[in-house]
């Protein structure tokens, strides 16, 4: 092929140069003639467009596909970045949510404990948090973060707003060990709360069923039923009277045949024990307010209004009595004065 090119007879340079110069001059003139509107080439323009259009269509389509691909890749990258950021945000929010839930739970527990403290006016309570639990499975002892410096001493009762937890086994300066009522070594003097029962018994931990203590020493013919509430009796001096222990879940006969025992469903959930209160002092509970008197239908009166009327009537009566007394004194005084004047006149 190269030989073929080389074999061609080259045109004389002068002719080529002349052709080029003519072409330049022609194009130069064409520019000005076209700009002035004297030459128009619509046919050639349309023909060129027709020839070019398939190529342009192809490249335009290719370009749009590439653009779509590019935008897709960009979008994927953006979504990946956004996804990563959202994952990080989710992790952060989960951590915050966990913390908030923890605070909310603690708040709820402390509110309940505070409510119990306000209601239980007969007790002086010291709030404490559970910071440890003995690892030995057959005993039930917890460690709380209050000790002798906080006023806690041995044998003080420990409660929650739900009921009795146990008593302080050993108090150190800042912490205390609390023996739960689930512990087999624990014994709590209790009685059935039902007014027509009031049967006394001892609640002690059951080694065979660590989550359900037993109320023992119940006479076989005692009036005790399932679902009876069990409260502390106050006997023994460790636990104040009236603290809820739980309710009787089952009743079984003792092997000897004279006694029976009740399995207690404790009111306190010992598996979720986090905050407790130590009763550092207790006193006699104030009398409960009298219940409202039942009134006959249709003749109901407002006791407060009646009391107010009675008070006013008493005041009026007292005022009237005082008035009468004053009048009587005045009359007596006048009579004495008159009598004195009469005696003076007779003497003269």
């Amino acid at each position: 092929m190269e030989q073929k090119y080389r074999q061609k007879k080259p045109k004389p340079p002068t002719k080529k140069i002349a052709a080029i110069v003519v072409a330049f001059i022609a194009v130069f003139c064409l520019i000005f003639l076209s700009a002035s509107g004297k030459i128009e080439l619509p046919f050639f323009g349309k023909t060129a467009m027709v020839i070019l259009s398939p190529f342009q269509n192809f490249f335009s389509w290719t370009g749009s596909q590439l653009s779509y691909l590019k935008s897709s890749i960009t979008e994927i990258q953006y979504l990946q970045r956004q996804n990563r950021e959202l994952r990080e945000e989710v992790e952060l929010l989960r951590a915050q949510n966990l913390t908030a839930s923890e605070y909310a739970s603690e708040n709820q527990r402390l509110r309940a404990l505070l409510g119990y403290k306000q209601v239980s006016t007969q007790f002086d309570l010291v709030a404490a948090g559970v910071i440890g639990r003995e690892s030995v499975t057959w005993s039930s002892v917890i460690v709380i973060n209050r000790g002798t410096l906080d006023g806690v001493a041995n044998n003080m009762a420990v409660v929650t707003e739900m009921g009795l937890v146990g008593h302080v086994l050993e108090a150190s300066a800042n912490t205390s060990k609390v023996q739960l009522i689930l512990d087999p070594r624990s014994s709590v003097g209790t009685l059935v709360q039902r007014p027509d029962s009031r049967v006394a018994g001892i609640v002690e931990g059951d080694m065979n069923d660590p989550n359900h203590p037993r109320m023992v020493n119940i006479p076989k013919d005692a009036n005790v039923q399932v679902e009876d509430a069990v409260v502390t009796s106050g006997f023994g001096g460790v636990y104040p009277k009236g603290i809820v222990v739980g309710k009787i879940k089952e009743i079984h006969n003792e092997e000897g045949g004279l006694l029976k025992y009740g399995v207690i469903e404790t009111s306190v959930n010992f598996e979720k024990l986090e905050d407790v209160a130590v009763i550092v002092a207790s006193r006699e509970a104030p009398p409960e307010p009298l219940p409202p008197i039942l009134q006959t239908q249709g003749t109901e009166t407002d006791p407060y209004e009646t009391a107010e009327q009675l008070r006013k009537a008493q005041e009026n009566l007292q005022q009237a009595q005082e008035n009468v007394q004053q009048q009587q004194q005045q009359q007596l005084q006048q009579a004495q004065e008159q009598a004195g004047e009469q005696v003076g006149g007779t003497t003269e």
Binding site: M1, K4, V27, F28, A35, L41, G63
Partner: protein, 163 residues
């Protein structure tokens, strides 16, 4: 004849790619001028007469289809074809660096010829502003696309020579 058809297809393809595909990569409406690069490379490889001929047809194609000042592109491409074709007699054809370096120079020639004609036709033009908005991006694009275009033209030229 086959060579002519291939050449026409190459010119059409380059121009179609320039006007359709490279618009996706434009910067403020300016993208690479592949026909100018084609003219420069062809002129380097084939001499001034081939360069001016290719420049003429490439310019005519652009002038007919672009709707710009008719003849300006033709004149500019022909000028570029002549100038860089003259260098073909003095440089080694296998040298790739010179066409790449020539690409921005050719772009500058094309720009100033066009601006000159616009000025001669009586249209007011701020050369500095036009250079900032049109010439500077064009220079970068021409440098980037010079090598691939020259490689295509070089391979085409070699295939023609080898038959």
């Amino acid at each position: 004849m086959r060579i002519l058809v291939i050449l026409i297809v190459l010119v059409l393809t380059m121009y179609a790619a320039q006007t359709s595909l490279l618009t996706y990569l434009d910067y403020n409406g300016v993208s690479a001028n592949l026909l100018l690069l084609l003219t420069v490379s062809a002129a380097f490889l084939r001499g001034p007469y081939f360069g001016v001929t290719l420049g003429f047809f490439a310019g005519i194609l652009q002038d007919l289809t672009s709707g710009d000042f008719f003849g300006c592109a033709t004149f500019a491409y022909m000028t570029v074809g002549v100038i860089f074709g003259k260098f073909s007699e003095r440089v080694v054809k296998d040298q790739f660096l010179i066409p790449i370096v020539s690409a921005p120079v050719a772009a500058a020639i094309y720009f100033f010829i066009t601006v000159g004609f616009i000025h001669l036709l009586g249209y007011p033009i701020d050369i500095e502003k036009a250079a900032n908005t049109n010439l500077v991006p064009l220079l970068f694009y021409q440098i980037i696309f010079a090598l691939p275009v020259h490689k295509i033209v070089y391979d085409f030229d070699k295939s023609v020579v080898s038959g």
